[in-house]
């Protein structure tokens, strides 16, 4: 989708524009956390097209592991949770601009993202997976075996970056890298034989494989550089501490594990 590229240009442009004028919304001693508590509402950004983490169910409600997780966090903070859906690429800018308070979207922290926003401790480590068509003869024993094949990735993801950093120098040509706005588009192309591999997170990969009758060729953690974290505005230490505290609590009291089971995530 070509307007994706325009979006990236826009994000860059904005970053330039906005870095010039610093924002100053933090009010009380608690900083931004105080603002949220005063307001009584946590505004959460997501991109609801990534089941089982975030999607919109038949009733039109936001559903998924991340959604339940953030609602539980809201409950423990004593505030309401309002979820706003937008394009994945718009999420980082949205949190930078405080259009949303936090972002939860199966997002991993990366050096590039870390420059613009802060992240909580990881709440989930997810492996990556390569999908191939049901009749594919491609055998992958390690991630680097993917070099040389045409490969689909989701735009703006860690997998896209890893592919460019590792597979392209190892023999995959730039023309062989196909970027999709959504993972299901890529999966359908794998099924139709238009692309050899699809390189995405392991959980949606398992789900897509089951639904579409395609194969998971490799599940690996070689490519994983970080866990999934919640993004928040830069420098809001109190908010970060509060979120980390609650995540730790949910880890130790078994809530996180329970949520994973609810959503069938291994």
């Amino acid at each position: 989708m070509k307007h994706k590229q325009y979006l990236i240009i826009a994000v860059l442009l904005m970053t330039l524009l906005l870095s010039a004028c610093a924002s100053n919304t933090g009010s009380s001693d608690e900083g931004y956390l105080g603002t949220i508590k005063e307001r009584g509402k946590l505004v959460v950004g997501t991109s609801a097209d990534y089941p089982p983490y975030e999607s919109v169910n038949e009733a039109g409600e936001f559903a998924g592991y991340d959604m339940d997780l953030i609602r539980e966090i809201g409950k423990r903070m004593g505030v309401e949770v309002e979820i706003k859906d937008m394009a994945f690429d718009a999420l980082i800018a949205a949190v930078q601009e405080k259009k949303v308070d936090v972002v939860i979207a199966a997002m991993q922290s990366s050096p590039e993202r870390d420059e613009k926003v802060d992240f909580t401790i990881p709440y989930h480590y997810q492996k990556d997976a390569f999908l191939v068509a049901a009749d594919s003869t491609i055998v992958l024993n390690k991630a680097m075996d993917a070099a040389g094949h045409s490969i689909g990735v989701q735009t703006g993801t860690i997998q896209e970056q890893w592919t460019l950093d590792n597979l392209v120098p190892a023999g995959t040509s730039e023309d062989q890298v196909f970027r999709y706005e959504r993972v299901d588009q890529g999966a359908l192309d794998v099924k139709a034989g238009r692309v050899d591999l699809l390189f995405i997170n392991a959980d949606p990969a398992a789900e897509l494989a089951a639904e579409l009758g395609i194969k998971v060729a490799l599940v690996t953690d070689e490519t994983v550089i970080g866990g999934q974290s919640i993004a928040l505005p830069e420098g809001e230490k109190q908010l970060q501490d509060e979120l980390n505290r609650i995540l730790g609590e949910m880890e130790s009291d078994g809530t996180l594990q329970q949520l994973l089971e609810t959503w069938g995530i291994p």
Partner: protein, 216 residues
Amino acid sequence: MGFLQDLLRLFPYLLTGIGITIGVTVIALTTGFTLGVLLATLRVYGGPASRWFAATYSLIIRAVPVIVVIFILFFVIARFVDLSPFLSGSIALGLASGAYQSEVFRGAILSVPGGQMMAARAIGMSRSKAIRYIVLPQAMRLAIPPWSNEAAIVLKDSSLVYVIGVAEILRRAEYVSARTLQPFLAFGAAAVIYFALTFITNRVLDYLERRYKILM
């Protein structure tokens, strides 16, 4: 299992997005219309400074993809005024459409014969009155065919506001596609709705054109 059944089940859900699509389109077209007429008038009748401003605005906005305009306005303008994504998206789309509409109206104003302005001045109308009562009413009528083209484009561009989180028809189709993995069904249904909307809009504008046609 019925493909048709699925489709029928899908429609009511997608149709809840139709209000948003129409809302965005109407606000954008109205904003764009006001701005477009103003810019076109400045372009044709303004002094050097306002002519330059109008031409530059039109040039820059038309050179930038609409989605970028939406994105920038959402984050930059909304910094100073607290607007909902729906409103800021609609207005951004309107500001972009204003540039295109200004070209439409400029062409229409220029095709109103010069004698009309002269005759209006001759009966003592000021320039602004002559523009308002004589030139613009005729230009509007001449502009209907190219304007309906722009209206159809804005209707389709209204889907771009999804990037800032307005769940109109297309974004809803994406939700369904991600959930059911039947993009054909989801986007096909969305296409049918867009077609119906465009069709109705064009019909209404065709009627207006016939109704207000001026013979010259």
